[in-house]
């Protein structure tokens, strides 16, 4: 069985055999069809993400439902899921079945971190290491990603180090997400953004709670789509 999370920036595949994850693969989203080459004849496919309806014969569900199912398997006692994706951030309170999305402002999405990384000619995965060397994180007050970038440039112009500015951006980014998160003891971070240790640390500090990041957080929704498909839940 195959679970596919065809997200806005990255496409992820998981294969489960006898209840265990056998294989994971990931490509940039414009190349998501390459993942279909890994599907064996007759294999069932469940999809989620922006391109979920593009795969013939697959069972498609939204990322929100996929995240719930993925987390049920990985962190059964989770209360809140924070899914930091490329184009939006989704927060679900599993206690009340309510969810909020930040998709009108890129300051709380993975796209924001990419802007920062691109400016410094770094990979997003390098940002946490750079931020860890900060001595005095820069203060970035703007709530708009574009203006935050302007502030960042101004800080650099004023003599702030790259590390201080990147750390400041992490803090600003984490604050935007924290505004969406309800108070809870067991908060789980998933999505590509959860792979950024600097962000996880900042968010944890702001929320004053230890955040749980499952192994392979970017693959949770792909796994969840497949879990949903194999469940006996009423299908949409």
């Amino acid at each position: 069985m195959i679970g596919l999370d065809l997200g806005s920036t990255r496409a992820k595949l998981v294969r489960v055999v006898d209840g265990e994850v056998e294989f994971r693969s990931e490509v940039i989203s414009p190349r998501w069809r390459e993942l279909l080459d890994m599907v064996e004849a007759g294999e069932s496919i469940a999809t989620t993400g922006y391109f979920r309806h593009q795969v013939d014969g697959a069972e498609a569900i939204t990322e929100l439902t996929a995240a719930r199912w993925g987390i049920r398997r990985l962190v059964p006692d989770a209360e809140v899921i924070v899914d930091i994706g490329g184009q939006d951030t989704k927060v679900q309170d599993l206690r009340t079945n309510r969810f909020v999305l930040n998709d009108k402002c890129s300051a709380g999405t993975g796209a924001f971190l990419e802007m920062v990384a691109n400016y410094f000619d770094l990979g997003v995965e390098d940002l946490a290491a750079v931020a860890s060397e900060a001595r005095e994180p820069a203060k970035i007050n703007s709530t708009c990603a574009v203006f935050a970038m302007s502030e960042m440039v101004s800080q650099l112009g004023g003599g702030a180090s790259q590390a201080d500015v990147v750390a400041g951006m992490h803090h600003s980014f984490a604050h935007r997400i924290a505004e969406l998160v309800p108070e809870a003891e067991r908060i789980v971070l998933v999505g590509g953004g959860a792979r950024n240790g600097g962000l996880v640390s900042e968010l944890s500090s702001i929320l004053e709670v230890d955040l749980h990041v499952p192994d392979h957080p970017a693959f949770v929704n792909a796994l969840g789509a497949m879990e949903y498909m194999t469940s006996s839940s009423p299908k949409v």
């Binding site: 569900i61 939204t62 990322e63 929100l64 439902t65 719930r68 199912w69 049920r72 939006d88 599993l94 079945n97 309510r98 969810f99 909020v100 999305l101 998709d103 009108k104 879990e227 949903y228 469940s231 839940s233 009423p234 299908k235 949409v236």
Partner: protein, 307 residues
């Protein structure tokens, strides 16, 4: 809402400017809420023409008070219509009398009665969707027009009767209530239906149907109960009753960017013990992909798609 029976009764044809907004391509300047700013700019640019303007300036939409004055400065005779916050029927009657005077007095009681008859039919139509006898989108498209009856009560009434007689082949089984101002997306109800959700309650259009009357006294009594203009407890009590009566599975709270009603979202969530999705629109356009995602996820949730 400007009482349409009074406008027809005074020998005029009402024309609800809001009904032009969802399909408008006008991009308003200096806007807060796109609903009012769009009709304001359409009037100022001559894309819509009216002889007189009546603005609901109190107890309903706060932005309309300013946008209406902007139009008034362009020279269009304008009247400001107010709803009393405390539901005082005497005060409501005074506002109706003032509006009647602006419109030149009641000259056609038959026209006024005709609107009341059509509203009675619309109440039947509104309840028929709760029995899955008509699609929610079709009901909404009628009720939302009760502000002006498309300018032609006879034709509008015939359309309501057809909607009551027709039986759709398939009606979605998830029942949702749509609370707040009407969506600025013209296809919102159809999108809900595409995800298996039947809108069985539209808050404001429901008000349009149930308020009315054949005399100034009965109109004053009914319009004084306009819940959108009253204190929140009064409105929430009414919502609780109506949502319960219609046995909704969940609520979609539609909010409009820069509208003061956005502030009510948390209070609604605290008060109404039902799954609730909040959607916020801005400019008129077909329902954007992000909102479709929310609606699809909400449908999955209501259908039991959660572990």
């Amino acid at each position: 809402m400007v009482p349409p029976e009074l406008v027809f009764g005074c020998g005029h044809t009402p024309h609800d400017l809001n009904n032009h907004v969802p399909t408008s391509e006008c991009v308003p300047r200096a806007k807060l809420c796109a609903w009012t700013a769009t009709w304001r700019d359409m009037l100022l640019r001559g894309e819509l023409r009216v002889d007189r303007l009546v603005v609901v300036a109190g107890g309903d939409c706060h932005n309309a008070l300013v946008d209406g004055q902007r139009v008034a400065h362009s020279g269009i005779p304008t009247h400001y219509f107010f709803y009393p916050f405390d539901g005082n029927e005497g005060e409501m009657r005074d506002h109706l009398v003032s509006l009647e005077a602006f419109l030149g007095g009641i000259t056609d009681q038959a026209a006024l009665d005709g609107v009341a008859d059509i509203k009675d039919l619309c109440i039947q139509l509104d309840m028929a969707r709760c029995r899955r006898q008509v699609l929610g989108s079709r009901v909404f498209n009628h009720l939302i027009q009760l502000c002006d009856l498309g300018g032609d009560p006879e034709r509008f009434g015939a359309s309501v009767k057809r909607a009551l007689e027709d039986r759709p082949s398939d009606v979605p089984d998830i029942r949702i209530g749509l609370v707040g101002v009407p969506p600025i997306y013209p296809d919102f109800h159809e999108v809900c239906e595409s995800f298996g959700m039947q809108v069985v309650f539209d808050e404001l259009p429901w008000e349009f149907a149930r308020m009315g009357g054949r005399t100034l006294t009965t109109m004053a009594r009914n319009y004084a109960g306009y819940t959108f203009a009253r204190d929140l407890e009064y409105r929430f009590d009414a919502l609780e009753r109506e949502l319960g009566r219609r046995r909704v599975d969940g609520i979609v709270h539609y909010t409009q960017y820069a509208c003061h009603h956005v502030l009510e979202d948390d209070m609604l969530r605290e008060r109404l013990d039902l799954p609730m999705l909040t959607v916020q629109g801005d400019l008129p356009r077909i329902c954007p992909e992000q909102e479709r995602l929310r609606l699809e996820a909400f449908a999955e949730l209501l259908r039991g798609g959660g572990p």
